[in-house]
Symmetry: C2
Subunit: 122 residues, 2 copies
C-alpha cells in the first residue's frame, strides 16, 4: 500500500536516493535548478512525502534530517512493471521490441543486452 509518488515528489526522491540523510536546506540546494522551485515548494513536497511515509525524518538539533523509506529499486521496479502491464500486456519482449525499433538502438546496446541475457541463461 505504498502511496503514489507524484512527478514533483519524484524529483525530491531522486535527491534523497542519491544522498541521505539530508536537511531540508540541503535538499533544496540539490534539486535540479531547471525546476526553478522556491525553498517552500521543496519543503511542501518533503512534508507530503513524510505524510505518505515515503520518507522519514529525525530531529538533529534544531533541524530535521530526511531519508527515504522506500528503495529506489523498489520504486523503479513498480513503475516499470506498471508500464509493462499497461502497455505491453505484461510481457517483456514486446516492450524491448518496441523500444528497440523506435529508438535507434545501437550495436553496443545490442551487445550489452546479449551479454546480459547470456548471463541470465545459466
Amino acid at each position: 500500500m505504498t502511496e503514489r509518488i507524484s512527478d514533483a515528489e519524484h524529483a525530491v526522491m531522486e535527491v534523497l536516493w542519491d544522498e541521505s540523510p539530508l536537511t531540508a536546506q540541503e535538499v533544496v540546494e540539490r534539486v535540479p535548478a531547471e525546476r526553478g522551485w522556491s525553498a517552500n515548494t521543496v519543503k511542501t513536497l518533503l512534508g507530503r512525502l513524510l505524510a505518505k511515509s515515503i520518507i522519514a525524518h529525525e530531529e538533529v538539533g534544531r533541524r530535521y534530517h530526511y531519508r527515504p523509506l522506500v528503495a529506489r529499486d523498489d520504486y523503479v521496479a513498480k513503475e516499470s512493471r506498471k508500464l509493462m502491464d499497461r502497455l505491453f500486456g505484461g510481457k517483456l519482449t514486446p516492450l524491448v521490441a518496441h523500444l528497440a525499433e523506435r529508438d535507434a538502438i545501437t550495436d553496443q546496446d545490442i551487445a550489452e543486452i546479449e551479454a546480459l541475457l547470456k548471463d541470465l541463461k545459466s
Copy 2:
C-alpha cells in the same frame, strides 16, 4: 503538443484503439467492467478526449462515431521513452537489465529477445 492522456482516459483509448469508430454507447459497453463506470463517466471522458483533440467524432444520424486521432504506437512510444528517461537515464540496457532481474524472465523470453536482437543487427 499532443495533450496528456490520464489514466482513466487511457482505458477509453484502449477501447477505441481496439476497434473504431464506435458510438458512445458501444464504448461504454466495451470498457472493462472492473472499472465499474457509469455511462456518464465514460461520456465525460470521451468529451475530455475530444476537447484535447486526442479523438474525433463525426455525426452519423443522431449519434456520434468516435475514433482515435493519435496512434496507439505513438502513445506507447512516448510513454515508454518517458519512463526510460526518468528512471534509467534514457538507456535501454539498464531497463532491460532491471526488468530481467526482477521479474523472473523465462528462457523463452530470453530466446525471443535474442532472436529479435539478431534481426536488428543485420
